[in-house]
Subunit: 580 residues, 2 copies
């Protein structure tokens, strides 16, 4: 039993920010398996999606048909609510759990609401435990499928990405008419697996018949620009156009070679045709959940697909979505990239915080989180305060959701509430983990009040026409409260070259540690005046942003010493063990 | 228009063995798109599969649930009919087309019949035109999906295979407790893409954090032993057990390391759980078609899955299935590997031949196939005669199906019929390409007569206990009519070593050119007394056979100079162009 408990522990920390439960508690997967799922057609009917517009995948998953989506164009949009969070700590914050809980809470108070979250990557599940969708009584089901192949979207992205890779090498093989410099092929390959041996490889060995050897590598599928594009594309035409725009290599004299030059964009679009259709599943309380897309939150924008969000806004009165990491990275990219590009504007933002995370931000070690420590909570609230201020800067009203843990004391909760009130916002205690939607009703009512108030006047942080380096400075100073941004001449020259090539209007996609406002992951709280070094910049010409890398970027994870996969199996009842 | 015609030409040759049609004819894809598909639940109902036992993938595809399959155990089996063919020529023979036509013909004459065919590999579709399932009015639909991601089975196999690859390198990385010799890792990686640059690669470059560099490579997914296992496994337990049995590497002193030692078999089984369930689709005439599995026909056994065939036998009175390549390779492996391993026994065999292919076997060049040439037909019939004799040797009654082409003359057809009659069998002219099931009614009636006659006394070619090299000789002499089998000492020693290690009871899986009974692809007709050189042997310990390689084996194709993918796209109506 000790072993089981330790598994639960890891799971809870990752998925819903929980300590190992008493053995009397049910685990996430036990709760999920007891779910009374409704046929997916019934879930669709709640949003008036006709049965024939749903392409079923089994009985509990479906894709929403493209033709039906096209037919919604003239409908008004519902209200858009973003769930974001403080900087993550090992204590966990429960952003997805709160997204699900809020969605269920809104439905419970009689609103027509849907949630929009990201799909899980397959590979990492075999390293650490799988990232379930939410936790406790605020989950999305079917959890097993969502952590395995789901509806095949990521497999389609892998295939589309690697078709382009094969066609590039094939072009070189058959004469290299485009004059690609083999040393300057920037397009790598992808696989949805944690496989460190593939990070850096030499291909095309073995002689003439296999092509020209060159050094390259594999990234994990979620890091593909194809993934970012799928999540930002308005429709299939836009998808193909963006795929065509991707830069895959350079000639000897540094002229870019586009995917379009390789003539891969059409076939890639065919491979992605089904993947572009949003997936519909349900929460434990049988409310609709769109789960679609899952771009890396560092080298991409880390939000679910635009097409899912826009479809949900046509079908529901309130749409709750989330963005990767803390608000400094996730919400910033949601606003400056996703909303800017897609013409979306959030009506309210929920910032998720926990008493435990506040304590850690206040300097308490993880082992000591059990003891009441109001002073530490108060000290740690500076991190939360910074996020509240930042989000308000986007012109959107904010409410704080305190994701409740059994060990939280009255005094600690009161300290957070008082602090938030000082910042001109309200903090609401939420018990959706224990109670489902019923535990998030108060938050739901507040969100409705804010979203319906019409006070939101969404604005991005910087205009399109601002020079690229200034955009980076705008985020670093305006959001991270840094004192300066440094970059060597090569980086600055590169940005200038892209501006001259017509890419100056793009937003910047910051790649930085999620654990701190600074580039030092150990610096909690609300540091200011620090230096943000931009080590490297990359152009995602198809996705439409310039990535500014301010730290280490790992685009292919490895497996740990004892990978989770060693314990994943089917049990006697054909149920999956070890994945959660 | 010339360009379109040439595309059609290639398609017809590949799929249904047709010349470029007059422009008045409809193409395969045009016919397929006009299909009046029934909801897949209705197709299932024809075999009394309850709706809840079908896991739908869209409206026209479904997987048959494992629990339902388990519930069929006590039912009697229907009759099993194998469709095989003469050695393929560039003129085409139309084996899948005949399988579909015969299935429809059986249904038309009032029999409860189903067909079982293989799934298509994704990658090759981007090189040459996609292999549609059948042709003309004898096709399986939805053709587009079947040539793209279908129900994700191959993606699941790719993921399971590559999880094991990653876990092997990860094991070495974290200390190599098993003592794997990095030079002797036999397990490669797979991708469902034609990508010659991946045939031979060096992985784990880039320093300490990425592991130990070693030379390895990628095969195409259909060549994976995991694919062969999925197609031979009786159920999920058997699947896991076979996966565990796979040899993935050797130690310095040549001791085998099994997949089980890496502890990957449980997680691989979880990844393959859904893929193990057979897929149900329909023919143009709305008859049930199981499409499941697709192992390489040279380094594996080239038949659809055992679980699909067995399920179909429980549900239908007549089950028509096919095997890869000509009868010397496909039918031989069907009998000696699939039937032996699965306890199946065919009740009748259809050998597909065409007048055109007989002419080519008789020495006529492809350009001259248009002119009547009875003498050449008669000369070429030797190839067909050899196959008839071989198949009869398995104790199963044979009928020849002549797949009709518009240019065939009465005299040529009569010549084939007369020749087959001399061999003690009957040849029946079939017009399913033009007329669908109606064109195959006569063949269907004959097949019913043979299958119901009870004359079949199925026997394999060699017993389990025969030494491995003698098994190779048994096939080479008994089927290919070779004079001798040669192999150097290394090969013979290897076979002896496997016998000593307990693998002597396995059948042999011959890898040889499909174009001839000899190892020279240009030697048509019925050569005899030739030498079969065994260049290499490989042990597939999980699939359960020893591969004897008698020629070049290409396990990773490349793309041609102008890959089909350059012309694949969605048109204005969102229909796929260029794939077929």
């Amino acid at each position: 039993m000790a072993r089981r408990a330790s598994r639960y522990s890891r799971e809870r920390e990752k998925c819903s920010g929980r300590e190992p439960p008493d053995m009397g508690f049910k685990t996430d997967i036990e709760i999920a398996r007891e779910a009374k799922k409704q046929p997916i057609q019934q879930i669709g009917a709640k949003l008036d999606i006709p049965s024939e517009a749903l392409l079923p995948y089994g009985h509990d998953k479906a894709k929403v048909g493209q033709e039906f989506i096209n037919s919604l164009d003239d409908r008004p949009n519902g209200k858009l609510i973003l769930v974001t969070a403080i900087n993550p700590t090992p204590a966990g914050e429960g952003k997805t759990t709160t997204t699900v809980g809020l969605g269920d809470g809104l439905n419970r108070i009689g609103k027509r609401a849907a949630i929009c979250i990201r799909e899980a990557s397959l590979g990492p599940n075999f390293g650490m435990k799988g990232g379930a969708a939410g936790g406790g009584h605020a989950q999305v089901v079917p959890m097993e499928d969502m952590n395995l192949h789901f509806t095949g979207d990521f497999h389609a992205i892998t295939a589309a990405h690697n078709l382009l890779s094969a066609m590039i090498d094939n072009h070189i093989y058959w004469g290299n008419e485009l004059g690609i410099d083999e040393r300057r092929v920037t397009w790598r390959r992808v696989i949805d697996m944690n496989d460190r041996a593939l990070r850096d490889v030499v291909t095309a060995l073995g002689g003439v018949a296999n092509g020209f050897p060159r050094q390259t590598g594999f990234d994990i599928t979620v890091a593909s620009e194809v993934m970012a594009i799928l999540c930002l594309a308005a429709d299939l035409d836009d998808l193909q156009s963006r795929l065509g725009d991707m830069i895959v290599a350079y000639t000897r004299d540094r002229a870019p070679i586009y995917c379009r030059d390789i003539k891969a964009d059409g076939a890639m679009t065919v491979l992605l045709k089904d993947a572009m259709q949003p997936n519909l599943v349900q929460t434990l309380e049988n409310n609709p959940a769109f789960v679609h897309g899952g771009p890396f939150a560092n080298i991409a924008h880390g939000c679910n697909s635009v097409i899912a969000t826009k479809t949900a806004l046509k079908l529901a009165d309130y749409v709750v979505t989330e963005a990767g990491f803390g608000a400094d990275l996730g919400a910033e990219k949601f606003m400056n990239i996703k909303c800017r590009k897609a013409g979306l504007a959030p009506d309210a933002v929920v910032i998720v915080a926990t008493v435990r995370a506040m304590k850690m931000n206040g300097g308490v070690a993880k082992a000591d989180l059990g003891a009441e420590n109001v002073a530490a909570v108060e000290a740690g609230c500076a991190n939360l305060g910074r996020h509240i201020k930042n989000v308000k800067g986007f012109g959107v009203p904010v409410v704080v959701g305190i994701n409740h843990f059994a060990g939280d004391t009255e005094a600690e909760i009161a300290a957070v509430k008082a602090y938030v009130a000082e910042q001109g916002a309200e903090a609401i205690l939420c018990k959706h983990w224990a109670d489902g939607g019923a535990g998030a009703e108060e938050l739901a009512r507040k969100v409705v009040e804010l979203a319906d108030s019409g006070v939101a006047e969404f604005t991005t942080l910087y205009p399109d026409e601002m020079p690229l380096f200034e955009k980076i400075e705008a985020v670093a100073k305006g959001i991270y409260h840094a004192g300066e941004v440094t970059a060597d001449k090569k980086v600055r020259d590169q940005l200038t070259a892209w501006e001259e090539a017509g890419y100056g209007h793009l937003p910047v996609c910051m790649a930085k540690t999620q654990y701190s406002f600074s580039t030092d992951p150990n610096e909690r709280g609300a540091p200011e005046g620090h230096t943000i070094p931009v080590r490297e910049v990359r152009l995602s010409a198809g996705a439409g942003f310039v990535v500014a890398i301010c730290g280490e970027i790992m685009t292919m994870p490895g497996l740990p010493r004892v990978p989770a996969s060693e314990n994943i199996r089917l049990n006697e009842d054909s149920l999956i063990e070890g994945l959660f």
